[in-house]
């Protein structure tokens, strides 16, 4: 069976007539798109509009998308799929340190003594970052991996701790308690640079090693080992990915890990830091550019009138002084008909959001949906207007910002296919139709506007980016480069220089929402494999010798108990839906734990199973923990199709 789902590039705009999408001229499509937005704003106000911006597109595109939202429409309802992955990391890091980026650089990972990878499988999901991890390991760094599965990342590790899904906070707290009781906390740092320590000490005190073992399943001795290794290391890197953030209490999870760095002083120094590993080439940049509902470019607070006024001066239009809706809130608001028009650039929420049925019906309820993409995705199929765009990474000039906050130039290598147009050009055409006569600015002009508004990007001219082959933010001046790590200030002697202390996060344990019981006894967790990417839109068209389509990874013990063989199709059901999927028996799994990806929605729609319990702070859904049952299916029903 061919698991790839190749899409053809879109080269003609499409408009919906009589329920069907039909080809249209650019003029007609743009007119229709603009008219729908105009009508929405006129009838329901600007806050009925929502923008989903693209984490794979350039900084310049993201900046223009949020500017379109704020200036042309007049709302702060702009967000991206960042919400479904690392928004909690940004929220957690911002709460502790005032800015939401990873604090170290790749080079420091190669030059550290201990690397902790918690809730991530970068060998598969972040292979470039993992090359840096391997260099670190080859240079002698010890590697600890915390993950329910013994992933291929864990196979490289000195120690693997296989915790229960959703018990990260008890594990982190027990590590903290052990560090405190062993007298290994960095007292100087705690005293000087943190706040809320006493409360934190009381918070973690109940989490003895044995209490944590009972809750997390990790042997007490292993927890102790990690605690001592982390506290004793001269340099240590704490890295996490979606195993931390795709939970209903994700921001709390992030805070719990940050607490460990605060307790041991593993932040603000060369070689020591906190690193959320980002999965899209520009998921960092999208947020940096203000394509999020609560921040303007450069993480500047939208609630701060002084900040707003600088943007207003340049943009010539007032900006709402209230946070807009997150992606998750926008979808909820569709149900209440608060959001009536949506502009989706390069996103595929139908297949990336949890609970597919709900997402589809919400999008159907919109008055006006415009999708701008390079492929006719499942989301685009629902649109009123489909605008064929360019592939940002090769068909436009601009910049990307990677996980280590490094802004890098991307140069146009190809013209978009005949008929497709550059994202920014399309937005400008729409803006013009909506009464804002935007010229089509060059990428560098847009970037210079970013620099004029965002102090942390100010020193990064295109010329300088080229000269240094990328520059990490912050970069305040064209004359200097800042250190490769953030928050050095926390180590300063002078309290004025030190600034705001970093607060310990006082966060409690909250188990996954979707409870296991007799009917749904298996914990389903989701993630990626090496050769496919998210919903497969971008990778399905490439052949891969490793690709086996969607599979349910199952422990040998459970396979025995269920009496299923490798490759046999089973029915997996949650409280929300059910799918048929072939089984893959894997040593990496333990009894009670199963794993699927969401790479092959045409074959198996995993999001039918997942739950949309979301993190109240960051809005990220709990993809990592669903309760499911597994049944053998009888002969004749083995064609793996989703059951709606």
């Amino acid at each position: 069976m061919d698991f790839s789902a190749p899409y053809d590039r879109l080269t003609r705009p499409l408009v919906r007539d009589g329920g069907e999408l039909r080809p249209a001229s650019w003029e007609e499509a743009l007119d229709r798109a603009a008219a729908g937005f105009r009508r929405g704003v006129q009838e329901h106000g600007p806050d009925s509009f929502g923008m989903l911006s693209c984490a794979r597109a350039t900084n310049e595109m993201n900046f223009m998308a949020q500017k379109f939202t704020r200036v042309v429409i007049g709302t702060n309802n702009v967000d991206s799929c960042n919400r479904t992955c690392h928004a909690p990391s940004v929220a957690g890091l911002s709460a502790a340190f005032g800015s939401g980026g990873g604090t170290s650089s790749y080079a420091e990972v190669e030059d550290t003594d201990l690397i902790v990878i918690w809730g991530g499988n970068p060998r598969f999901a972040h292979p470039i970052f993992f090359q840096h991890v391997l260099k670190g390991v080859r240079n002698g760094a010890r590697l600890f991996v915390v993950d329910p599965r013994r992933t291929s990342t864990a196979e490289w590790a000195d120690r693997w701790l296989g915790l229960n899904v959703g018990t990260d906070i008890p594990l982190a707290h027990a590590i903290a308690r052990e560090i405190l009781h062993a007298g290994l906390a960095n007292e100087t740092f705690v005293q000087r640079a943190t706040s809320g320590f006493e409360e934190y000490r009381a918070l973690v005190e109940p989490w003895t090693l044995s209490a944590a073992e009972a809750e997390t399943g990790v042997p007490a001795e292993a927890i102790r080992e990690l605690a001592h290794a982390y506290a004793r290391a001269e340099r240590a890197q704490m890295c996490w990915t979606l195993g931390i953030t795709e939970h209903h209490n994700a921001t709390d999870n992030v805070r719990a890990l940050i607490n460990l760095a605060l307790l041991t002083g593993h932040v603000g120094r060369y070689g020591s830091g906190l690193n959320p590993l980002r999965g899209q080439n520009n998921v960092q940049g999208g947020g940096d550019m203000g394509a999020i509902p609560d921040r303007l470019a450069g993480f500047q607070d939208i609630l701060d009138a002084r900040v707003r006024s600088r943007f207003e001066d340049v943009w010539g239009r007032p900006i709402q002084g209230a946070k807009g809706k997150t992606l998750t809130q926008m979808f909820e608001a569709m149900e209440e008909s608060e959001i009536r028009t949506l502009y989706v650039i390069g996103e595929n929420p139908v297949q990336s959001e949890p609970e597919t049925h709900k997402t589809t019906s919400r999008l159907r309820s919109l008055d006006h949906l415009v999708v701008q993409d390079i492929f006719l995705t499942r989301t685009a199929e629902l649109a009123d207007v489909v605008l064929p765009a360019s592939a940002s990474w090769c068909e436009s000039d601009g910049t990307f910002t990677n996980s280590e906050r490094r802004v890098q130039l991307v140069r146009k290598a190809l013209d978009p296919p005949e008929g497709a147009r550059d994202d920014i050009e399309i937005m400008c055409d729409l803006a013009t139709r909506l009464g804002h006569d935007w010229e089509r600015p060059a990428a560098e002009d847009i970037w210079n506007e970013v620099r004029s508004l965002s102090p942390m990007h100010r020193g990064m001219s295109y010329a300088r980016l080229e000269e240094h082959q990328g520059i990490q933010w912050p970069c305040f001046s064209e004359d200097e480069l800042e250190p490769s790590f953030l928050h050095r200030r926390l180590w300063a002697q002078d309290p004025a220089e030190r600034g705001e202390p970093a607060p310990f996060g006082i966060v409690g344990h909250s188990p996954p929402v979707d409870l296991l019981d007799e009917d749904f006894p298996f914990r389903l967790t989701t993630g990626r494999r090496l050769d496919d990417y998210n919903t497969g839109v971008q990778t399905g068209g490439f052949s891969s010798p490793l690709r086996r389509g969607e599979l349910l990874d199952l422990s040998p013990e459970d396979a025995d108990k269920l009496g299923v063989a490798d490759g046999e199709v089973v029915r997996v059901s949650s409280r929300r839906g059910s799918v048929l999927v072939p089984v893959s028996i894997s040593d990496a799994m333990r009894p009670g734990l199963v794993f699927m990806t969401f790479h092959f929605p045409h074959q198996v729609d995993t999001q039918l199973l997942t739950i949309d319990a979301t993190d109240p702070i960051a809005g990220t859904a709990e993809y990592k923990a669903a309760a499911v049952s597994i049944e053998r299916v009888t002969e004749g029903a083995e064609e793996p199709v989703s059951v709606r």
């Binding site: 002698g140 590697l143 013994r150 291929s152 296989g162 009894p591």
Partner: protein, 663 residues
């Protein structure tokens, strides 16, 4: 890079063999039974990967035990060491002595290399083929291979049989008669399954359970000391030295006079006096004596040993390592074998001194896989030396800590190259590395390393006992000390000869009794396959480094292979070319392709092709190999052929005038 393990299980026997080298598995993750604790916790990483150098010993253990390495056994080794099976397969398939398909337990290696071919290995090959089918067959009770030089050239033609089992056994037939070959190739019944699988040395301490109540000797050796049933006992090591016991011997003086298994014998003949002297001199003093002695490497490259030691000792990076290159595989060379078989303690003592001088605490003794007796004698010597505190944490009570690990090669000539040997020890393919960095900076495990040949090392003992200057007075100004020559081929008494530098080729051949009645010398191959031919009328060449150089040839490793007037020179060249083609590691293009082209061309000549056009091609290919190959193998692969063309005039038109000496 990823660990994609195979869906194959090892047999209990294979598991036991591997675990006898690596110790019992710790958990379900490294090849043990999956337990509940394994569902929550795994150890590995550095601890597991740091044992990568045990890959080769583990593969040996399986191959020794069952005769081949099954996918299940390979997978088990990989799980134990955190090595991707694809990588381990690449390593296992690198070596000629490992089989990755099932084969009979007994394997006969028949040497068909130059010296043995000149002494009639051809009919033996035909006999084996007739009785046991083509080489490398997987059916039947035995299998056989044509082997490159087995290092028994003094009693050519030679054959070696190795039989896998609870304790592998071996036997040699040399000179091999048809009857002896038949005995070697006669299968013995499968031994009783109970027992004898643990405690084999394999160069590393065994951790396996149940070693206590065993009836093994006190010093367990990899190979059983009882040869294969029905075979003739191997002649004593001293039989390789025709003038054994000569008072003029320095390096060979103990050969034939001591029991090679007895430390007491060794000490009674002056053993361990040099180490005592070294400890008195201190490391810098030892290096000074060795530098003053003018000793240069005897492996073929003739690099000053004192300089190598000084360069290693002065490296700030640590630890330092010593590697003794006992991978004696240059066709025609057998000197190191005779030392290791006949006077093994001298090598152990010399390595200890070298380790002391360069600041190493571990020495690796890398011995070729085709030397079971030398391996047994060395394993015994190391065990005994450890018992007497001559190796270990406190050598001779001096506080100096030094120990030796044996690593056994598995049939790859290239592993004798001074950087390929590192890869082989580290558990990688034995592929040479580019230089710089040189081994003294980044050698074994990336650390400063001195690599020395066996003969070079044992020269250190007389240097310390005589003093460097006195040693330097022996020989000539440019070539000091005594030298071992491996004389084989058509002379009356082939064997290992020790002569002070300065003797001529004629002196050496006369020492061996000259040529038999009615035979004349057609050509002499100096330095082995990587060396060069000289003519029978060039016997006045002095056997010194400078003399050989002046004569446009090389001493190499001390091979002097005399081809008489009956020898088929073209066939000899084809064999040399086949050797290089077979032994090229394939890493760099000039050598990988060039050695094939060279052999093809010589084969065409041997089948009547036009020498004139072939010689032009050979010259071009040879020059490309010499100029562009990474290591000495490719760089020298055309030497012998070139000398046969230019010096012997082998392909000159009939009636052309004989050549003058061409430097």
């Amino acid at each position: 890079m990823d660990l994609r393990f195979l869906d194959e299980t090892p047999t209990d026997t294979e598991r036991e063999a591997v675990d006898s080298v690596l110790g019992p598995p710790e958990s379900g993750w490294d090849g043990g039974t999956r337990l509940d604790t394994d569902l929550r916790y795994a150890r590995g990483g550095h601890t597991a990967r740091d044992r990568r150098d045990l890959l080769l010993p583990a593969l040996h253990a399986v191959n020794d035990r069952v005769g081949w390495i099954s996918p299940g056994a390979l997978d088990h080794v990989c799980r134990r060491l955190t090595v991707p099976p694809a990588e381990a397969y690449a390593v296992a398939s690198f070596y000629a002595m490992f089989a990755l398909q099932e084969r009979p337990r007994r394997v006969v290696h028949l040497c068909t290399d130059i010296a043995c071919a000149a002494k009639g290995s051809g009919p033996l090959r035909d006999r084996l083929a007739e009785r046991h089918g083509p080489p490398g067959g997987h059916d039947g009770d035995v299998t056989w291979h044509e082997s490159p030089c087995l290092g028994m050239c003094e009693r050519a033609p030679a054959a070696l049989a190795i039989e896998a089992g609870p304790r592998p056994r071996s036997a040699v037939a040399a000179p091999a008669t048809p009857g002896a070959i038949d005995t070697l190739a006669a299968a013995s019944p499968e031994p009783a399954a109970n027992g004898h699988s643990n405690g084999r040395a394999n160069g590393v301490p065994a951790h396996g359970p149940g070693t206590a109540d065993r009836d093994l000797p006190a010093a367990p050796t990899t190979f059983d000391d009882v040869p294969l049933p029905g075979t003739d006992p191997e002649p004593a090591p001293a039989d390789a030295v025709p003038d054994a016991g000569s008072p003029d011997h320095v390096l060979l003086r103990r050969i034939g006079r001591v029991d090679p298994l007895s430390l007491d014998d060794y000490r009674a003949e002056g053993g361990y006096l040099a180490l005592r002297e070294a400890l008195r001199l201190g490391p810098a003093g030892v290096i000074r004596e060795v530098s003053d002695s003018g000793l240069v490497g005897r492996g073929g490259a003739a690099f000053p040993t004192g300089r190598k030691w000084q360069a290693t000792a002065s490296q700030p990076d640590g630890p330092h390592y010593l590697v003794c290159n006992a991978d004696e595989s240059e066709p025609g060379t057998f000197k190191d074998r005779v030392i290791m078989e006949g006077d093994p303690f001298s090598l152990i003592e010399a390595m200890t001194i070298a380790g002391y001088a360069i600041g190493a605490h571990t020495g690796y003794l890398y011995i070729r896989g085709e030397y079971p007796r030398a391996l047994r004698h060395l394993e015994n010597a190391i065990t005994v030396a450890r018992e007497r505190d001559l190796l270990g944490d406190d050598v001779l009570g001096s506080g100096f800590s030094f120990d030796i690990e044996i690593r056994r090669g598995a049939g790859a000539y290239i592993c004798g190259e001074e950087t390929a040997i590192f890869g082989s020890i580290e558990g990688e393919r034995g592929e040479p590395r580019t230089k710089p960095p040189f081994p003294v900076e980044k050698g074994l495990f990336g650390k400063p390393t001195a690599v020395n040949n066996v003969e070079t090392l044992v020269n250190v003992l007389p240097i310390l006992l005589m003093g460097g200057p006195a040693y330097a007075a022996v020989g000539t100004e440019g070539s000091t000390g005594p030298k071992l020559f491996c004389l084989s081929g058509g002379v009356r008494r082939p064997g290992l000869y020790e002569l002070p530098f300065g003797a001529t080729l004629r002196d050496l051949i006369e020492a061996a009794g000259g040529m038999p009645e009615g035979r004349s010398i057609q050509a002499v191959l100096l330095g082995g396959a990587a060396g060069a031919f000289v003519r029978g009328d060039e016997l006045d060449i002095p056997l010194t480094f400078e003399g050989a150089r002046a004569a446009g040839t090389t001493l190499g490793s001390g091979v002097v292979l005399v081809l008489d007037d009956t020898a088929d020179l073209v066939a000899t060249l084809v064999r040399v070319a086949a050797f290089f083609r077979d032994e090229s590691c394939g890493q760099c293009v000039p050598c990988r392709v060039g050695t094939v082209r060279q052999e093809e061309s010589l084969l065409r000549i041997s089948r009547g092709g036009d020498p004139a056009s072939e010689v032009a091609l050979l010259r071009e290919v040879g020059q490309a190999m010499r100029d562009a190959s990474i290591c000495g193998l490719g760089q020298t692969a055309w030497n012998a052929v070139e000398s046969a063309v230019d010096r012997l005039g082998l392909f000159d038109a009939p009636g052309a005038p004989a050549r003058e000496r061409t430097p």
